[in-house]
Symmetry: none
Subunit: 539 residues, 2 copies
């Protein structure tokens, strides 16, 4: 089997409905470009018109289009008793400038009469008119049949009529949506089988294809999607990390490996699927949600082994305790007790920085030990490779001293309803000179950052080009209240390169300070390497 | 259908394998008594002999037995080339004093030859001897066929032989274990069907019954268990909250409602199932793991609704957007307030706080407008219901003044490699008196929190009972670097109730301060309401 199966990602629309998740325009664009690099065929970008942020998202993609993926605009049918051509919501969809539009309509008679408060006939007209309108404007149409399974159980004839109406009006895909997430796999199997059968021989303007869109309210979103695929559906809708309203949508990070690696469908290619773990973690990072360590395939614990016999068995023959090789989806086997696996990680990582460590070199073990100690304290180097590079240089004795920190003071002050003032002083030794500088900021960390830059600027004028691109805070042990440990990630840039550093402390200012300082240091290091490279090139 | 289905809980054994989960003896006993009160028929308590804590667990239950549940001891077959009667591991099982023993054995030829390094014939002898030994000691036996599905795929005849050996030796249940979690629902259906068929007509000492034990490595543990049940299996093994090694076991909090409320099996009774949400949260509390808000059926968000049309539809007819009434499993419908909120959300939410707003009252529109303004500034009330309640009271003119803030100062200080010191002073007016207090902390926010409590304590001694349970920080526009806006969520508790408040500022200390202050204020408000209620009750 190498049948193609079309993956349709709705992280940016249905996924963003997850309680506690809120994506900025920039977040949405960054996620879209990651999904594009993965080669996901369809990316649902949002509902332009319902949300000003979504309008801008589509405009930005018109300026700089995606490479591999089709971005899709999502909307509902026209309002009851109106004309599609006059519907402002539909005009907003056209201005999104996508080739494809996903239109959702009502399948369940109850939703038509109670929800929309209109007649069953008018609902059919709404579906037909809206699709014909989009077709007349050159758009290709995916039709999402909302509440499909509940609707079909309640009134199969009417439900089928809505789908047939959509197909005849020019929809190319009919998508069965389990909107409330209440359906179980065996029901999916039976209903999808009956429905696809009912379409045999129907004359439609386009060859019909079917899709599935499931939610996890019964804990079976992934199983439900697979059940539909086995009945002949060839589009699967879901979200990265299963984000979505209530209990979430079908998790594409689970579905794609199941469909591609176990069932042999062609979803995103064997090379792209190796990026799945990375993309999963990237999206949780951008969404600022803690990654689910126990997520199938891509979770940190998905291929963890503890206990002696088990571990040696895995090492003899991974097949005995692993359903799949972790590297096929870019994840790693983790041996929880032994540091053997850790060492090869460190060696591999060092290599990415151009540092060739020897397995038998005691420094390698020293770095590994330091890394473990720091990770126990809450540091995380997965996303902070610049800090990891500095750590290795420290252990190797090759870390250059650009400046020595002597201390800082931060002061915040607020009276009644006034704005909160922040003032910082820093003391730094640079090239033998003690420098004391002070600066204000709109918060304690920006004040500290400003004071540090003032101190360093005369010695390292290139610092003027460094920018703090991103600043993220995660509370590590939230249960300890305001005494909790804080991890700060700072992303810096010099215009050409970007790098991330990490700091950890129970004091959020101290943690931020560590990350900001290493960010500046690493920028200076990069600058210096570039200069030495350019000297080599010149000579 | 009201067929009985036997639920078998292994939270205390397989669940405890979860990375990051560690249960004390007392934790295990508390969880066992909760499961007992739920009426779970079988509770696997551990592997006595492999673990001293587990030995004590069974002894404690001999002193004070469970009321409804059978506690079961878990162990493996005897060692190769030895005698069951002389095996110390098996003696330890007898001393646990249970009526039932669950014995696991190898089904997969690869595991016999490579893992155990013995012959296929010796493995059969190990199964037979061990079961006969337990039978001779008056124990009833459940046989867990480890790696069943992989074993059956690799060598169906041998796999079947292991099971037939177990049945003939006196096992009453044969349990199909998907140990690596790699099997998909349609494979379960097919294999279970074939296997049960293969046992038709086999003569065994007891009427045979079948069970299923699944893991979530493919994201289908629940679907897999259901598939087996539909083929005639009538014991389901799983864990509370799906805890377990790697990606976890089948989640009983998902399975029980699916099996009992959707498929009509008789698992734990209609009254007991209403305690499921409570038990789920209890177990996560004891395990000291954050509850999964997005868990099916029992999660905080499982019946949450946001978006205007949606909310008004749910209120008209819950069936339209809920696959099941939340109260059937002891959960609650939640109306979430967010920037997609319409007036009906605000009205519905106000009602949950006992505030009856009128749709035509200008105050309702004023609250909605304020909500939108604040959300534009970065406030988010989805998770901060206490701050939303205070906002409504403010608009209605019923917010009580417990104290008035006059200002604060925070000072952090670090020299060289020393620890970072934090000191805060606050000025508050309480009942006409100006109070100035100072405190230290291991970070600026804990120092502020301590100073505030010191100031309020003499006037409101109940503040001593308030705890900060959780502290979350989100950088809203990370792209602005250290000048970014910060949103802080603080969860407080008074021992009985929990509430969350929010603060937003470009200054992280100011944002934290807002949330901490509202947290204290709301605690005082709750205390006061309780007192006034108890006064009413007394009079």
């Amino acid at each position: 089997m190498t049948q193609p199966l079309w993956i349709y990602d709705t992280t940016l629309r249905d996924g963003a409905q997850r309680e506690g998740l809120s994506l900025s325009l920039d977040d949405k664009l960054r996620i879209a470009r990651q999904l594009d690099s993965l080669g996901i065929p369809f990316i649902e970008g949002g509902w332009p018109g319902a949300n000003p942020k979504d309008v801008q998202f589509f405009w930005k993609l018109q300026e700089q289009p995606l490479v591999h993926s089709e971005v899709v605009a999502f909307c509902s049918t026209r309002r009851p008793n109106s004309h599609a051509e006059e519907d402002d919501n539909l005009k907003a969809i056209l201005s999104a400038g996508t080739r494809w539009v996903t239109l959702f309509g009502k399948s369940w008679d109850l939703h038509v009469t109670e929800g929309l408060q209109t007649t069953l006939t008018e609902n059919l007209a709404m579906i037909e008119d809206t699709i014909k309108f989009f077709r007349s404007q050159g758009r290709r149409v995916i039709y999402d049949a909302e509440h499909w399974f509940d609707g079909y159980k309640a009134n199969p004839n009417y439900a089928l009529e809505t789908l047939k109406t959509a197909a005849k009006a020019g929809a190319e895909w009919l998508v069965f949506c389990d909107t409330n997430g209440g359906t179980l796999p065996h029901e999916i199997t039976q209903i999808v089988r009956e429905v696809i059968q009912a379409f045999k021989g129907l004359e439609t303007p386009f060859p019909l294809q079917f899709g599935i869109h499931t939610h996890n309210d019964s804990g079976t979103a992934v199983g439900n999607a697979i059940a539909a695929v086995l009945e002949g559906v060839n589009m699967v809708q879901g979200t990265i990390n299963g984000y979505g309203e209530r209990c979430g949508n079908a998790n594409l990070c689970t579905l794609i490996p199941n469909l591609q690696l176990k069932l042999g469908y062609n979803c995103i290619g064997d090379e792209a699927i190796k990026k799945l773990t990375e993309v999963s973690r990237f999206v949780s990072e951008v969404a600022n949600l803690a990654p689910d360590d126990h997520a199938p395939f891509v979770g940190l614990s998905a291929f963890s082994h503890k206990g002696g016999i088990h571990v040696s068995a895995v090492q003899k023959n991974p097949l005995t305790y692993e359903h799949l090789p972790p590297e096929t989806i870019g994840n790693q086997r983790r041996i929880v007790v032994s540091d053997q696996a850790g060492l090869s990680n460190v060696l591999a990582k060092a290599r990415t920085f151009g540092i060739d460590l020897d397995r038998n070199n005691p420094t390698s073990r020293k770095i590994l030990q330091q890394l473990k100690d720091l990770e126990n304290q809450g540091y995380q180097f997965e996303a902070a490779e610049a800090s990891f590079d500095l750590l290795m240089r420290e252990a190797l004795g090759t870390r250059k001293t650009f400046f020595t920190l002597k201390g800082f003071q931060v002061h915040c002050d607020k009276s009644s309803d006034e704005i909160c003032h922040a003032l910082a002083t820093v003391k730094v030794t640079i090239k033998g000179q003690d420098i004391l500088e002070a600066a204000e900021g709109n918060g304690p960390v920006s004040a500290l950052d400003a004071a540090l830059r003032k101190a360093l600027m005369n010695f390292y004028p290139m610092i003027a080009e460094f920018q703090l691109r991103d600043y993220k805070v995660r509370i590590l042990d939230g249960g300890s209240g305001t005494s909790a440990k804080t991890r700060v990630l700072v992303e810096s840039s010099n215009g050409q390169q970007r790098w991330t550093t990490v700091g950890v402390s129970t004091n959020i200012i101290d943690a931020s300070y560590q990350a900001v300082v290493e960010g500046l240091e690493y920028g200076l290091l990069l600058q210096q390497q570039e200069q030495s490279v350019s000297i080599v090139t010149v000579s």
